[in-house]
């Protein structure tokens, strides 16, 4: 029997047993629900374009509202209601207690608050300008026909030559953050599965029979492969649900870098998971009881957390520390995808980082396999890493 067959057999068992488990099914369903909720709920509770209310002082409210709708063109019509207000003070009071979203004051401009949508402010100001222009033209003796001819300019459109929407930096940052959180959560989650799985096999002693039959390194890599593939499938499923929900609700414009970010996320999940899962397996082999699991994994979780925080700090700007971290294996799985999503990583940096990561995974697999081998067959209390290392030759 080839090693590959054994590896796949072990991977398959871990995959199948877990996918059939109630706990996995519930956690997957729960995650999907949470992701959907995170996307859909803000839609429900934040008033959208429909139902914008504009307070108007000194001008005909209906005219302003009509002008806003006219300016908006053929995109989703907004339901704008003009509310006439007697005085500027009255209008401000309405704005302050949230009865209107913006106030148009003839001869002055548009009053807004922090809660006013930027699009509404722009539209209202444009509408005010249009209304005033029309009035002034009329007072200069131009007929309504001439006025409309004067104002219908066809040359002020913004057109993108590559067909993509304008580069929305906030979109890129949101995507980068989302990617990093997803990577962090999934590596931690699936790493914990590995950790628990290894301790389970050790504490119920089945490992003795398995390792009496197949070499420990195959058990280790089979487990990492099986759970890794399962994790990747769960991740992709959640990603698809999120993508569909985003597309359906139109909550955010996906930036140009979306495609690259998705590919990078999958790639770095694969390498990052292989790296940390192997380390989690080695940590798990050093203890015998589930209660000791978190202690055993603590140093690893610490490294992962610092990689995660480095990545989130890097949103505010690149610096040499973050650039260096994005090249080094323990930090790269978090920091590099972040820099890629932000469009800050150069091709050569990505290449160096990927190569170092692959080398890192290989080296760690060798080291962890030896610790795992030494640790997994020793029952009793916690085993020190160097003991496990020494008791396992070759």
């Amino acid at each position: 029997m080839t090693n590959w067959r054994t590896l796949l057999l072990i991977a398959r068992r871990d995959f199948v047993e877990r996918i059939k488990s109630r706990a996995f099914q519930i956690s997957t369903a729960l995650t999907v629900v949470l992701v959907l909720a995170a996307i859909i709920l803000p839609q429900v509770f934040t008033p959208g374009q429909a139902g914008w209310r504009v307070g108007v002082v000194g001008t005909d409210a209906a005219t302003i509202a009509a002008s806003i709708v006219a300016l908006q063109g053929d995109t989703d019509p907004i339901d704008t209601i003009g509310i006439p207000a007697a005085t500027r003070e009255a209008a401000i009071a309405l704005l302050e207690n949230g009865q209107v979203d913006a106030v148009v004051v003839a001869g002055e401009g548009v009053l807004t608050t922090g809660g006013t949508a930027r699009a509404l402010a722009t539209l209202a100001s444009g509408a005010l300008t249009a209304v005033e222009l029309t009035e002034r033209a009329a007072s200069l003796g131009l007929t309504p026909q001439l006025v409309s001819e004067l104002l219908s300019l066809g040359s002020n459109n913004i057109a993108s030559i590559d067909g993509a929407a304008d580069n929305d930096t906030t979109g890129a940052e949101t995507l980068a953050l989302f990617t990093t959180i997803l990577l962090f959560v999934s590596i931690v989650t699936y790493g914990q599965w590995i950790l628990i799985g290894v301790i389970e096999e050790k504490s119920n002693r089945v490992v003795e029979v398995v390792v009496g039959t197949v070499p420990p390194r195959l058990l280790l890599s089979g487990k990492v492969l099986g759970i890794g593939v399962l994790g990747l499938i769960q991740l992709i499923a959640i990603g698809i649900v999120a993508f569909i929900a985003l597309a359906a609700t139109d909550v955010a414009n996906l930036p140009d870098t979306t495609g690259a970010a998705v590919v990078a996320t999958a790639f770095w999940f694969f390498l990052g998971f292989a790296f940390y899962a192997t380390a989690y397996a080695a940590a798990g082999s050093l203890v015998s009881r589930q209660e000791e699991a978190q202690n055993a994994a603590f140093p690893l979780t610490l490294v992962l957390m610092s990689a995660y925080f480095l990545a989130t700090f890097s949103i505010s700007g690149d610096n040499p520390i973050i650039r260096a971290a994005s090249l080094l294996p323990p930090f790269a799985p978090m920091t590099m995808p972040m820099r890629i999503a932000l469009g800050r990583a150069s091709a050569s940096e990505i290449a160096i980082s990927a190569v170092l990561m692959i080398v890192g995974v290989y080296v760690l697999m060798r080291v962890a396999a030896r610790i795992y081998r030494g640790g997994i067959l020793r029952a009793g209390g916690k085993i020190r890493i160097n003991e496990a290392w020494r008791s396992s030759e070759g």
Binding site: M1, T6, L9, I10, R13, E17, S21, E201, N204, R205, V206, V207, E208, V209, V210, V211, G212, T213, V214, P215, L377, A379, S391, S392, E393
Partner: protein, 296 residues
């Protein structure tokens, strides 16, 4: 043939094995005996590469054991362990496949063994739903599913009820008859005596006695004599050297007689003392051989 040659292993200051030697041929059923902590489990684990000995070798068919060779071995460790949530047929078949069987063959063999152990109707139950004795049977099934050439069982009788003990003994014997080399450890010496032709007794990490049970018993420096002499003076044996009274019950006496003593002389002395109703002798039981071998 499995050969364990001069195996030594230290755990820190403690010498677990101080040069263990043993052989099990195909078709042989070898009992592996020794007090707790003598090194039985360490020896057995070293066959599976679960212990790296400090020195010495383990050979199968004259060659060091490679990963591939081990696929032809079956092992039931002292501390039983399987996957608690796996379904029974799947679990046994899984271990068959780990040993290189195709899925089809492994499932067929697993079904056969479940049937054999009376677990045919528990195939889709999970291990954790089985009683302790049935879990033990399933553990044995995982060691047997791939029809191993070598079967190593650490305390296979521990925790079984008398029915289970009988069935287990029958399976071990039939495996040996079918040509498998079988080695098992046990503390139930009467059972070993019935089951095995050969035993190895280890004590404090080295072999104290090894060979055929019958030969070990007859080669023991002592034998037991059972006497019933009517009308003899109570002290008639005092004049006879080399015999030690183990127990007396009226006219009946059990004696421990050293190998050098002529039994004819003892019989003659008994006849002089009174009417000999019974005179029989037998070598010591395996239990006594064992106790003598491991006595400090």
């Amino acid at each position: 043939m499995l050969e364990v040659i001069d195996l030594k292993k230290n755990y820190g200051e403690i010498a677990a094995l101080r040069g263990v030697n043993l052989r099990v041929a195909k078709g042989q059923l070898l009992g592996f005996l020794g007090p707790n902590g003598a090194g039985k489990t360490t020896t057995m684990r070293s066959v599976f590469g679960l212990v790296a000995p400090d020195s010495g070798t383990v050979l199968w068919q004259g060659k060091p054991i490679a990963e591939r060779t081990r696929l032809r071995f079956g092992y039931m460790p002292e501390e039983r362990g399987l996957y608690p949530r796996m379904r029974n047929l799947e679990q046994v078949a899984y271990f068959g496949m780990l040993h290189g069987m195709t899925r089809h063959a492994a499932e067929a063999a697993a079904a056969m063994w479940l049937q054999q152990f009376g677990l045919g109707d528990r195939a889709t139950d999970r291990l954790e739903q089985l009683s302790h004795g049935n879990q033990q049977r399933l553990q044995l099934a995982t060691a047997l599913v791939h029809s191993p050439d070598l079967l190593v069982l650490d305390e296979p009788f521990a925790g079984l009820d008398p029915l289970g003990v009988g069935a287990m003994g029958e399976i071990l014997a039939s495996q040996a008859r079918a040509g498998t080399a079988v080695i098992f450890s046990s503390h139930q010496l009467d059972l070993v005596e019935d089951l095995c032709e050969d035993v190895v007794i280890i004590n404090e990490g080295s072999v104290a006695l090894a060979g055929a049970v019958r030969r070990l018993r007859s080669a023991a420096p002592h034998r037991h004599v059972r006497l019933e002499v009517r009308g003899a003076a109570p002290d008639w044996l005092d004049a006879f050297h080399g015999a030690e009274v183990l127990s007396t019950n009226g006219d009946r006496t059990r004696l421990d007689v050293s190998q050098g003593v002529e039994l004819g002389a003892l019989l003659a002395a008994a006849q002089d003392a009174g009417d000999v109703v019974e005179f029989s002798y037998e070598p010591p039981s395996l239990n006594e051989v064992f106790l003598a071998a491991v006595a400090r």
